[in-house]
Symmetry: D2
Subunit: 338 residues, 4 copies
Amino acid sequence: MIITLKKDAQESEIQSLHKELEAKGVQIHTSIGEEFNVWGLVGDTAHIDERDILANTCVENVTRVSAPYKLANRMFHPEDTIVDVGGVKIGGNEPIVVMAGPWCVEGDEQICRIGQEVKNAGAKIIRGGAYKPRTSPYSFQGLGYEGIVDMVHAREITGLPIVSELMSADKLDEFVENVDLIQIGARNMQNFDLLKAVGRTKKPILLKRGMSATIEDWIMSAEYIMASGNPNVIFCERGIRTFERYTRNTLDLAVIPIIKEKTHLPIVIDPSHATGDWKYIESVSMAAVAAGADGLIIEVHDHPEQAWSDGAQSLKPEKFAEVVRKCTSIANAIGRDM
Amino acid sequence: MIITLKKDAQESEIQSLHKELEAKGVQIHTSIGEEFNVWGLVGDTAHIDERDILANTCVENVTRVSAPYKLANRMFHPEDTIVDVGGVKIGGNEPIVVMAGPWCVEGDEQICRIGQEVKNAGAKIIRGGAYKPRTSPYSFQGLGYEGIVDMVHAREITGLPIVSELMSADKLDEFVENVDLIQIGARNMQNFDLLKAVGRTKKPILLKRGMSATIEDWIMSAEYIMASGNPNVIFCERGIRTFERYTRNTLDLAVIPIIKEKTHLPIVIDPSHATGDWKYIESVSMAAVAAGADGLIIEVHDHPEQAWSDGAQSLKPEKFAEVVRKCTSIANAIGRDM
Amino acid sequence: MIITLKKDAQESEIQSLHKELEAKGVQIHTSIGEEFNVWGLVGDTAHIDERDILANTCVENVTRVSAPYKLANRMFHPEDTIVDVGGVKIGGNEPIVVMAGPWCVEGDEQICRIGQEVKNAGAKIIRGGAYKPRTSPYSFQGLGYEGIVDMVHAREITGLPIVSELMSADKLDEFVENVDLIQIGARNMQNFDLLKAVGRTKKPILLKRGMSATIEDWIMSAEYIMASGNPNVIFCERGIRTFERYTRNTLDLAVIPIIKEKTHLPIVIDPSHATGDWKYIESVSMAAVAAGADGLIIEVHDHPEQAWSDGAQSLKPEKFAEVVRKCTSIANAIGRDM
Amino acid sequence: MIITLKKDAQESEIQSLHKELEAKGVQIHTSIGEEFNVWGLVGDTAHIDERDILANTCVENVTRVSAPYKLANRMFHPEDTIVDVGGVKIGGNEPIVVMAGPWCVEGDEQICRIGQEVKNAGAKIIRGGAYKPRTSPYSFQGLGYEGIVDMVHAREITGLPIVSELMSADKLDEFVENVDLIQIGARNMQNFDLLKAVGRTKKPILLKRGMSATIEDWIMSAEYIMASGNPNVIFCERGIRTFERYTRNTLDLAVIPIIKEKTHLPIVIDPSHATGDWKYIESVSMAAVAAGADGLIIEVHDHPEQAWSDGAQSLKPEKFAEVVRKCTSIANAIGRDM
């Protein structure tokens, strides 16, 4: 951390800040300049907040040089982390994993049928929502526990692990017992109490990026989970909110090389929420694989027009199979399996 | 709701959608056009999601004409709602209410001292954080229950009601018992389980706008609280996230006339988080009052440079008193007390 | 400027960068740290681009301490600049100036009639577009030179100076000869050739903020005009583009204290384009005055529904008069005339 | 276009709007609803602005059903347009074209040397800036005409066509005479006079997306060029401005399938400006090819640290050659040449 000090600052204030920083266990190297003096802080600065330093009127500017995350930081953990989701490995040079299924579980028969269809088309994990975050209180909120039971049935029938979204810590036991991969949704990416709660388990966590989260915010949310004791975090990009209106969100694929440079954790892409339109899913899925994604999570429904929600962004099984085939060609071109 | 249908759509699909919509209790008026046919839906469409309709391939376009919110909607509740926070009334033509205090409670002595100072300067409610949402797991997370106890003490000493942020439903009883106004933070604006939980109480709720929430999303979150049974919602604008870097967030003051046009609920402005810099708080507070805000919530600390966090955006008590004086002049100019 | 150097960088690369920087006329103060070395640059760094420095692989990080603008910088010009627009003074403690008129000139009779109406209601400058930037090539593009002639007539009749938008340098002579205040629109804020062209005149320039311009970008565009020799720049905030859909743009009123802190130039607010809806103009105009704006520019049309464009954001003259009255009360409350 | 009318509107106002719309040559189909009446407009509505209709107080809502662009619209021109740039074909199933070269021309020797290097590595068109848009008036503004002369020399030596940015219509003749592909930069995407000027030539135009331009805005700018008579437009995505700070801009690759669905024009991707960091260019270039881009435009410099600007986002020739090889594998996997 580099702190730039005003030349005309009061000596007493500078002394007091110096003492306070040393008390936090960092060493301070001073450089005398003509317009400003500069302190270089050495040591563990992850627990020092730039904004707190700025509150001192003697400070002109603060620049963080080291990243504020440690456990997720590739610098301290150079090898890729591979997360095991009910026997399916994600990350490193493992085959690219496709997760697929309906936006929400509509009943036992539906999730088992679609689960079998996506398995046939190449999916390795079944997705399905039982607890659904809805903008409107008047919209269908998911089948709840019944939906989880239905997913467990789909797992028995297909042999594939399952992923579903956890919205509240009071259902954590239910998820730990039944679900293979616990999804934290975009709207809860900074629900820190929920992050801490899932951090106290050892379950793999699929951490979606918040709609207005910077990449650094997102890594810090992974750090919350890891700092609570759970190293099994998988990032999931699902688009950020911008002014663009032809897509539901703006998919940011540059996150793939960035997450891989700055962290050692796997990253998967959700083209369904990102675009909000089934017509664009093939292109952006292929792009995600080419950019190095470790997996895809895609919404599939055999009757999108009758889906209880979000049918507009759901692929039909036959189209999904085509997307998997095309993505596999891309994967092979970059030397990966799928 | 207006649905535009493709001319070349399959008759069977159209029939099926028609039946499904009627089953949801709305009437459909059909208009035959040259390029498109149009359905006008009459009745309660709040529970129909535009995106679900779009999943039908016969549909070209869906436009919502009526707002998706009902309980918050001024159309069905023309008079201003006035929320009573421990005896302090907010909304309508009541005096503009200033809430103030430190970003976080640092101990009994601190909150009682600052509480007294902000009271002397004109604050009517004391703010202070006990549970703090922090981007980093390594940052101070608040004093927790101890902080709530300290705030209760500050209320006893000053006689002013208190507001504090609730981050998790498992602390709800603690807040209902001790706090006069429960704040839902920006990061939890779409933590729907938390919204439902506070909706089951009768406590006044201060609902901050999410960093990337549209005004409609925000009203829908208020609707969640109201639909769960709690009509005592106060909106709080604290800036949205944009590309601008000179301020922490971009304060959107046009929300004031919009919230007042579309809903009957009070709205207060948080200039501290919006700007992130104490130097700009005076100007934007005055602007907020001029635009018709029902209140302000301002961070005050007597030693910002020693504040445990966010000192950069905290006013000193004497500067805060000046801001209150200037805002009072503005309030008087528009015929309101403060 | 503070440059952080990697400890493991090649000595030859560091030497080469050091030499290159000295050749640009700055002094370099070195500080040896444990993890990084730091250079503090002293002297005029306005012509050094942070991104160029970053291209050196020995560099970890670059932080600009001094602002990249000089002529617009209040640090080097502490007194407020007051710009004289055809006898109407804008800035400093001068009365707050209201500019008003139709979005576009529709003919001589129209602009003279509306010009007289806005004068009666308190406007001091008449606005009207002759050359119009339209998203669609099929939309009306303005009356062109005929519109300028009509505006000149309106000035003769009312005695008020006129402001109009210049879209292309090849019309500059026409504007210099006829118009009192030349507007550079949001879409041309970084049309650098146009900025240089108007910078070679002495005409007052109304520089609108680009839809995605940071405040720093905006000040740099003013710097372009000033560096070309024209010190008469007035900033005009008209909202930035965000995800919000209830307003056309998001009005950023925090720019008022920021522009006044960082520069010595006047700033006016355009509530019409910012909100895109006449219903919200009163509130945000009052807010702008309270925040310290030096002026307002408001669209007024006596028959908005017949306006050739943008009627939705135009006030009728009687409503405009009411807005001026209410803004005057606010102005008086902060000790300014209007 | 669907217009929703308020039930309580004045009959006279409705009549007047009806007449006005008919005068614009569209037919109106009326549908009587319970809460609202609806007009469906049939005919060419491209010249009707939704916002103008909204200015009528009898109107509740306006929805555009047909796209506002005609010449760029794939609906009226189903076959892919292939643009010929000095003998290199772009679009349709033509091989994917790589354009490469330095951010700016630094002299004859430099552009000829780098031009040869990028040719050897697989580039088919040489890029280089002679007139440069810079945020600061104190930054190097390009060599101007001398730079164009140098590029012409590089073309002679390599046999490759050249692309360069035109910033002002007064240099148009110079560009028409010397340059094979005229680039309109992001900052000038809505410089409508410049669009009209290049529209009056037959030269191929590379139209970059503005930093805050919606896809529809962008297509409308292409429509400007086409409506002026020039059908040879190539879109170039270079990222949009968002809150994210780890990349210079946010690259939006979903534009590829969208542009191909809605228009018949080619699209190329600029990964250099989009990410601003050479380390991420390989990944996003591969992603762009996988998503169906017709070309790439990449900054290459043999001594990035000595580049006169933007070295941080420039690839060295050997790295560039590797990117081309990897992109070629992706191209082959989707059945295209490169």
